[in-house]
Structure formats: structure tokens, C-alpha cells
Symmetry: C2
Subunit: 403 residues, 2 copies
């Protein structure tokens, strides 16, 4: 069996944890499996590097930031190879150049295009455990790129797909996927199984367990994932196409505090304005989530939308740059103290009353809804940041998820 | 003019120093020059990484050590590019993969074979300052290699040769090359010029200013070097083929404490024994310096030689592995508390009394000589480590180098 195992930064934060991960991988190897390990940078190393960069140049180019950040995973994979060697198993570390992990040209938020598997296969045939740097790639200029926060999950899934792996295990600091964040909701329950689509909505909405692109890719290539803890041996949650058990109406509640609302007020009410606005943002790789358009005063219109907090400043700057020209408007307002709460469930499609039930629960605890967005399998509301915990618990209870 | 400038770890140890180096490079750039900068890892980063490795696996493979160590320069070059950008000059950092810095396959102590200059030339034509990782290369397996301690000097000289640079400046924490270590000899004098050969002997012998391979390479390709301080703007020392000024009898005194003596006692007195001994060591890339062979008891012979301290354990292990077979001997002894003191000077060739003058000086301060080695332009003695300072001062004074 060929197994791809991914461990996050917390799992390799120090010598003891690195040795612990090494032992877990060796267990699988000694059962006769081929093992490919994908690692993130150690602990908070990525943040440490970002702080160093900001200290020298707050507006450092993304190209150079990626050059800097990729040292993080290279450090963790080489130390892991040394740890496995010390335990008597031959291992080799490989970075994005050595694997040939081709991505799009975008720095800081690149997408994987193609992975050469030759070197990895060669090393596996040589009876080695192969340890690959997560998160990083190279583009057509032979420059380092990174896949965005949490990108190591995507590396693992892409490797599993390219190598036709029999299993892809994502190790985190939680036991699996829960009906809500266990730190926020006391009786949150672990799910045994969840579909790609549900997981995708949960990932996008901030459940924080899996990087959303990794789930998209797993769905696309039919890679079934297991999310489990690196700290214990409990079973974890399987993410796959079809869940055998009876579909629950709602699988979980997700909260996301890393969000801000931008309101562009007094735009001209002419065709193409929304296109221009979001096209400018897309050109700078800024992902927009909930969008609300409303009629403004005197033949104008207002457009509000949410972005992640780290993208706010850039988004506002872009809009202001165009506000003299194609995006004439009266003002650009920013609200940072907001959060998203969402319910996700494959069973929602055929149950029209679900959204109303959620709103009722929020009304019951006096939480005001600022924006609403729905898809076939989710309902998201934007609320005040300070109400997140109350809202999440109320919704979790209303759908009896803890039972 | 195309200038290659190399800065060591001390010169880029923190934000302030990085900005200081950036400014110095920008000065040259703004005079219309093309500038290529070669950097070592920041401060003691290489040692920090080595400690991390040793903590996890004291016998870590050299392949994985190189994978780990190369993150050091990648960090410093990306931060330098950010620093230059912040000062308004476009800069780009490149690592060994991006430059294509081809080396031999040996890990930990590799030699440069070929440098592709395409990418660098392209970036220079694009009006960028190009910042290259020193010390590192890639071998035919696409694995990282390192050039050994101080290898960044070699990277700089090799780049200067490959790019046909007009100047190659090596910035260190000293003003230039001195007649002796100024920390040890108070009236040591800075030399304006020195020949490659003299510098080579000084580098090999532990003057610690330039990596010896860099001088070999500079000599081979006729690259004239300037050694100068990154902390002030004084002129430094030029290293070149011919020194115009009248050749001094002795240019300087060098001391090297990083040395140990190994004595292989009671070897069989048959042809080929010395060859076998040093061939085994060469196969493991262990450099041997002073060699002394003497007649032992009962038809045996003893061979003593010196190696750097970090190579002692490996060297002894290799000899002991073969001591049952081709290298039958009675014992292998190690003496660590020894040091080398050398005098170097192109003028020595035609002055036979120089060695005697040195021995007289040592006798005058009661320093016992354990081994002697001479070449056309140097005399080296092995003495007790604790006598190094006394010996160096006595020799420096005897040749009136401070005047």
C-alpha cells in the first residue's frame, strides 16, 4: 500500500514531536507500506519568518516572501529525515525543486499544476521513506511559489492523486471533523464520515481543519481523505464522495472570525459595475465571499462583500485606485468586527425550512444578522464578532447536533 | 562595470546590518555598475542549524545536513532583496537551483564545477541587483551540496570568473590581510597587497580571512580580489598574481588552533603503507596537513599527521576499521592540544636562512617544536596549543613585521 501522510506545524514543532511523527510513519513503513510524508514548517516558524520580513520591509514583494517562507518546510523535512535515520530507517527529504512541484506563476497564493513523480517513485523503490515539503512549489520562471495558508494539505492530496496512493491521511491537532468547534461548543460531536461538498463548505467557512483547495482537489481526483489527530490514535473522520449513513439534515456549524466587510457606497447604477469591481479584485487574487447589492440613493447602488482580514487593506487600495475612473463611488467603508456563522449539510437540499430554523435560533439569542448567503448545502450569516460563541451554540443546539 | 560583492554572516547578522550592506551595494549600483551580491547565512545561523540537527541525530547524514544548512543563505538573500526593495532599488534573490550552481556530488565539502550565468545576466540586464546564496550548490542528483566552511568566498570568486566581473570584493569583519592576527599581535600591520600564493598559504594555515579554495580559484581564473571591511570604508588588501612593491621576505605569521595530531604507531615497514593510509582518508574527503614518518621499533614505522579537529573522530574510525587488514598497526594516538604557527612570504624562496630564523625566535621564548613542514613560500611548525600567542608574537617581532 502507498500511504501519503501529512503533518502540520504543531505536529513537528520540536524535537520530541518530530521523533513522535517519525515513529508513526515508521510503523506504517514496517508493515510493508510505501510511505510519503508531507510536512509544514515547524510550529510558528512561518509567522516568525513573516515577522522578520515585515520588520525589514512591510511591503516586501510576494516573490521574495515565498523565497523566504519556503525555508520553513525545507528545515522541517531535513530534520525529519535525520530523525528517521536515527531510528534506523532510511529516509530522504525533497523540496519543491527536487520533486518538481509545478504551480501557476502567482506568488503567495499559487495553484498546483503538475507534479513529477519520477524522483519520489525512484526513492520509494529504493526502500526509503520520502519526506516532501508541503505548501511550496516552483513556477515557470524557476521561482519558489507558495500555495497559501494551509497549502500543505493540498500538497498531500495532489501527491496522493499523482502517485495513485491508496490512502491520504491528514494529521492535525484535532481528532477529526466536529459538528462545531469543540472549543466553542461543549457538546460538539465528532463525525465519522462527511462528503467532499460538506467538507468543502466547512473548510471555506472556517472550520479550520482542512484547506479548501485540498478538498476540491480530493473531490476532483477521487482521493479519499482521513482527518485524524497526530497526538492520539483515534479513528478520525473520513472525507469522501458518498456517505453511507443516513444523511443528516445539518452536519455541522462553522464559525469564522477572519473576515471583514467592505461596502462600496454610491456606485453608478450602470451595467458592468459589479463585474469591474470584482474583476479588479480577482486580478489581484483577492477572494470575495458573501456579496450583497442594494439600491442606493439617487440612481446609485451600494455593493457590500466580505474578504479575509489580511486582504482588506489591499482590496480597499485597489478600489480607491479605480474610484476616480471606472469605479466612481461616494465612499468605501470597512467593518472589521464581523464574523461568519454557517450551517452545512448535504441533507439541506431537500429541506427548505432549514434556513428559517437557523434564523429562529439566532433570533432566540438576540443576534442581529447583517448579511445572508446560501448555497445548496449551506447557509451563512454575517454577524457581530462578539456574538459568535452565543450564535454558534444556539444553532448547534437548535439542530440537535450534540445528540 | 560588473562588481561581485561578498558579505559574510557577521555583516548580515541583523536588520541594521542587512540595511547597511544594502546601502553599500546600492551606492555602487547608482554609479551605473551592475552588482551581484553573494551572502552567507545570517550571524551564527549555520551553527544554530547544526545544533538542531545534532540534537535530533548526532550522526545525521551529510546529504540531509546540506538540505538543512542551505536554508540559511536562502533566508539572508531573500531578506536582503526585501531590504533593497525598501530602499527603492529593484533586487532579486537566487538560490543554487535558480542560478544552477553545479558542484561535485560530495555532500558537506563539495567543489564547484560549472555555473550557469543565463539567469543572472538576464536579471542584471533587467536592471536588478542580483543576490545569490553563497556556500551552496546542487549536484547531478539535484540534491543540495555545500562547499565547506567559508565556501561563500568561493561562490563569489566563481561567479566573478563566470561573469567576467571587473571586480570581486570580499567583505569581512577585518580591514584586510594583516601580518598576524591583530587580536593576538598588537603591532600587526595591514598589507596593501599580497600574492595569490602567499594568501593561499595564509588561508590554508588559518589566517581565517579567506577560504583557501576561493584563492585557488581566483589564481586559476586570474580574478583579482579585494579583502575589505564591511564596517568601514578603508581600502583593504588586494590579492593578485604579482605584487609590485618589493617582495617582503616574510609577509605574515598565521596561527591555527583548529588542528589535531594523529599518530599511527607500529605500521609494517612495507611499500604502499603510507599510500593506503592517506588513500583511505582521501576517499572520505579528509584533508591531511603536516605529515611526519619515522622509524619505529622492530622493523615497523610510525606515521604522524595533522587534520582539522572536526575530522579527528572520523579519521581515527577509518584507520581503526582498516587496522585489522591493510593498515596493521600497534596503536592510533590522538593529540588535540596542538596548534600550527606559520610564516608565509614569496621572498622566502631565495632566502635559505628564514626557517632557521623562525626556529631561533621560538627557542628564544622556550617553545618546543613537535613537527615541521615547509614549502617554497612557507614554514609551519606544530607546537603546544597554549604557546600559540607567545610563539606568534616572537616570530612576528623576529621578522620585524610590525615596523
Amino acid at each position: 500500500m502507498l500511504i501519503v501522510k501529512k503533518f502540520g506545524g504543531t505536529s513537528v514543532a520540536n524535537k520530541e514531536r518530530i521523533l513522535n511523527v517519525a515513529k508513526r510513519c515508521i510503523e506504517d513503513y514496517q508493515k510493508g507500506n510505501q510511505v510519503v510524508v508531507v510536512l509544514s514548517a515547524m510550529g510558528k516558524q512561518t509567522d516568525v519568518l513573516l515577522d522578520m520580513a515585515r520588520d525589514i520591509n512591510p511591503k516586501a514583494s510576494k516573490r521574495e516572501l515565498d523565497m523566504l517562507l519556503t525555508t520553513g518546510e525545507q528545515t522541517s523535512v531535513s530534520l525529519m529525515a535525520m530523525a528517521m535515520d536515527s531510528l534506523g530507517v532510511s529516509a530522504i527529504s525533497l523540496n519543491a525543486f527536487q520533486v518538481a512541484m509545478h504551480t501557476t506563476s502567482v506568488y503567495g497564493n499559487s495553484r498546483l499544476k503538475r507534479i513529477d513523480t519520477e524522483r519520489i517513485k525512484h526513492e520509494l523503490e529504493d526502500k526509503k521513506i520520502v519526506i516532501v515539503t508541503g505548501f511550496q512549489g516552483i513556477n515557470q520562471y524557476d521561482d519558489y511559489t507558495t500555495l497559501g495558508r494551509g497549502g500543505s494539505d493540498t500538497t498531500a492530496v495532489a501527491l496522493a492523486a499523482a502517485l495513485h496512493a491508496d490512502a491520504c491521511e491528514i494529521y492535525t491537532d484535532v481528532d477529526g471533523v466536529y459538528t462545531a468547534d469543540p472549543r466553542m461548543v461543549k457538546n460538539a460531536k465528532k463525525l465519522d464520515e462527511i462528503t467532499y461538498d460538506e467538507m468543502l463548505d466547512l473548510a471555506t467557512l472556517g472550520a479550520g481543519v482542512l484547506h479548501n483547495r485540498s478538498v476540491e482537489m480530493a473531490k476532483k481526483y477521487g482521493v479519499s481523505l482521513v482527518v485524524r489527530s497526530s497526538l492520539n490514535t483515534s479513528e478520525g473522520t473520513v472525507v469522501k464522495e458518498e456517505v453511507k449513513m443516513e444523511k443528516m439534515l445539518v452536519s455541522g456549524v462553522a464559525a469564522d472570525r477572519n473576515v471583514a466587510r467592505i461596502s462600496v457606497v454610491g456606485l453608478q447604477d450602470t451595467p458592468g459595475v459589479a463585474f469591474k469591481l470584482f474583476n479588479h479584485l480577482a486580478n489581484h487574487n483577492i477572494n470575495v465571499d458573501i456579496i450583497l447589492q442594494s439600491i442606493g440613493r439617487e440612481g446609485t447602488k451600494d455593493i457590500s462583500f466580505t474578504v479575509t482580514e489580511d486582504a482588506v487593506d489591499e482590496a480597499v487600495a485597489i478600489i480607491k485606485r479605480h474610484s476616480e475612473g471606472s469605479l466612481k463611488c461616494q465612499s468605501v467603508d470597512v467593518e472589521r468586527n464581523v464574523a461568519k456563522v454557517s450551517i452545512v449539510g448535504a441533507g439541506m437540499m431537500s429541506n427548505p425550512g432549514v434556513a428559517a430554523k437557523m434564523f429562529e435560533a439566532l433570533y432566540g439569542v438576540q443576534v442581529n444578522i447583517k448579511m445572508i448567503a446560501t448555497s445548496e448545502i449551506r447557509v451563512t450569516v454575517l454577524i457581530d464578532d462578539k456574538s459568535v460563541e452565543v450564535a454558534t451554540n444556539a444553532v448547534h443546539e437548535r439542530f440537535a447536533l450534540g445528540l
